[in-house]
Amino acid sequence: MADTSNNEKSTGGSGFSLLGLLRRPEAGAAAGFILVFIFFSYFGWDKNFLTPLGSSTWLNFASKVGIIAIPVGFLMIAGELDISVGAMIPAGGIVMAMATNQFGMNIWFAVGFTMVVAGMIGWVNGMLVTRTQVPSLIVTLATLFVIAGLNAYLSKQIAGTTQHSVPDAGIVSEFILGDYHSWIIGEGENSFTIFRSLQSSFFIWIVFSIVCFYILHVSPWGNWIFAMGGDQESARNAGIPTNGLKIALFMLSAMAAALVGVTEGVLANSASTTTQFGMIFNSIICVVVGGVLLTGGFGTVTGTFFGTLTFGIVFQGINFTSFDKDLNMLFIGVLLLIAVLMNDTFRKLATNASTKKKG
């Protein structure tokens, strides 16, 4: 009979070495973040890249993409895409605006109502994808335009405008959904200064990331999401409710996008129906830079988190340097290429991990 006594040391021992750390799937994204951070800290030093106000610029930007990137990453791990988030962001803002202005709801009912509407749209996405077998890229491309059209049409029909004003939400909701201007922090310069410029979406992003980390990597359900992207047929044969889970993930991404729209609305006291096509690409870039495989079955929340930070720095950081601003897009393109190439290498490292142990 085979002896199993040598398992203990090999299962327990890995993960502490530097090589083990490098083999972690999020290693590439973390390394990329550190490089980009050092690069812009150096070239942006004179223009306050690292000051509280400066860092809040890219952190606020990253948080909005990040809230969407995590569920989009979940979907990508499960082998799907969601393009419709570009229209769900404005949908979130205007549904909340109309719920308060036209339907007279209080802010929290309006936010709840918005989440229900978003959840329903996500459910439709999920149903279309799971029932028709049409690739989700096409399905959500179609619903992107359907939602965008509805945004404009219903806005005009119900409120008579495509530019909604969002009434002041009161101090508590401002604090949770908007920013920290008015609360806690006084006017003077102190160690909390950064909170004056950080928006609430940043903290929502952090909390959301932790919850999603738990779901994907700690709870048993994370396994199922990976399995769907790894081999859908086998996952179904193993009794995993693939359809239900997929629908839930589409609902999550729609709701996350709508939440970003809500925070933008509360912050700016206005909401518009303009479709945010850029955010579609931004969220996908963050996920891919974060090491999630486009083909599904592989990725991490931590990686996506670092990928989003990296993207936020590259996107906003150029304003802090003396480089020509026109180079912005070029930087992002190069970043994406490097990330994809690195991902491939890291994935190979990961699949071969510990093969050397067998000697």
């Binding site: 199993t4 990976f226 047929e233 086998s234 044969n237």
Partner: protein, 275 residues
């Protein structure tokens, strides 16, 4: 154990839309018995076992477990009744660890209330132990990704998993197809062990030798219908081979190929001799 079959199909038909795949299938497997399901490619073997595994619902007819008619609500339902299946393709997830693969859908957890935590240590330990029992001693690290294993090692992992979870019925769809001689022998031994433990085993193979080594009872499918149903020792090896080829006489077939090759400078015929 009583004489009630652990699992039984009665007059089961299965069609996918207009395509009829199974006709009037009736089969029973008792505890401690190995049923070998034989048949040509496309005969409907995999479809039949998917019906037993809860993946497909029969179009007509019924499935009985312990003599009671059941309607599986899905693969999970069948699993919960102790029916474990290794499907012909897949069954493993390349970019996931050995431990996570092994416990897919049946994750061991620790923790309190709704905050369940996947118990990686336990999962890895059991997975490695069970895979080693299958003769794959090279797998010692439960965190290793399955994508780095060979095809046979992956297949062994899938079988080990089914053996571990299969409390009453073990269904193996061509489990030895990707395996080396030694691992195939291990699988046959495992089948025998399962049988001794009182499990009902359904075993699909295209290899006569493997079928004759473990089978107590044979059923041959030809174009979705049961063409022969016999017990060990009732038919010769040649007869079984012919039935497995879909009713063709293999000896004739082989002779005709040899004759052809003699007259064609040793080239085999271009078109397959089936139909």
């Amino acid at each position: 154990m009583s004489d009630t079959p652990v699992i039984e199909l009665r007059n089961v038909d299965k069609s996918f839309g207009p395509i009829d795949v199974l006709h009037e299938i009736s089969l029973k497997v008792k505890a401690g018995e190995v049923l070998c399901l034989l048949g040509d490619n496309g005969a409907g073997k995999s479809t039949l076992i998917k019906t037993l595994a809860g993946v497909h619902a029969p179009t007509r007819g019924e499935v009985l477990v312990d003599g009671q008619p059941v309607k599986f609500s899905g693969p999970k339902d069948a699993q919960n009744r102790g029916i474990a299946t290794v499907h012909q393709f897949g069954g493993t997830y390349p970019l996931m660890s050995v431990g996570r693969n092994f416990f897919m859908g049946e994750e061991p957890t620790k923790g309190f209330g709704p905050f369940k935590v996947f118990d990686r240590k336990t999962a890895n330990k059991i997975a490695v132990e069970e895979v080693q029992k299958m003769g794959i001693t090279r797998i010692t690290d439960g965190d290793r990704l399955v994508g780095g294993l060979s095809g046979g090692e992956r297949q062994s992992l899938a079988i080990a998993r089914a053996v571990y979870f299969g409390a009453r019925v073990l269904i193996l769809d061509e489990p030895t197809a990707a395996l080396g001689v030694k691992q195939a022998a291990h699988v046959l031994r495992i089948v025998n062990e399962a049988k001794k433990r009182g499990l009902a085993v359904i075993f699909i193979t295209h290899q006569v030798m493997h079928a004759m080594t473990v089978g107590d009872h044979f059923a041959v499918l030809i174009r979705g219908a049961i063409a022969a149903d016999f017990r060990k020792g009732e038919k010769s090896r040649e007869e079984i081979t012919d039935l497995m080829a879909g009713g063709q006489n293999m000896a004739d077939l082989e002779a005709s190929i040899e004759g052809y090759m003699e007259t064609h400078d040793g080239h085999p015929p271009k078109v397959s001799a089936a139909e």
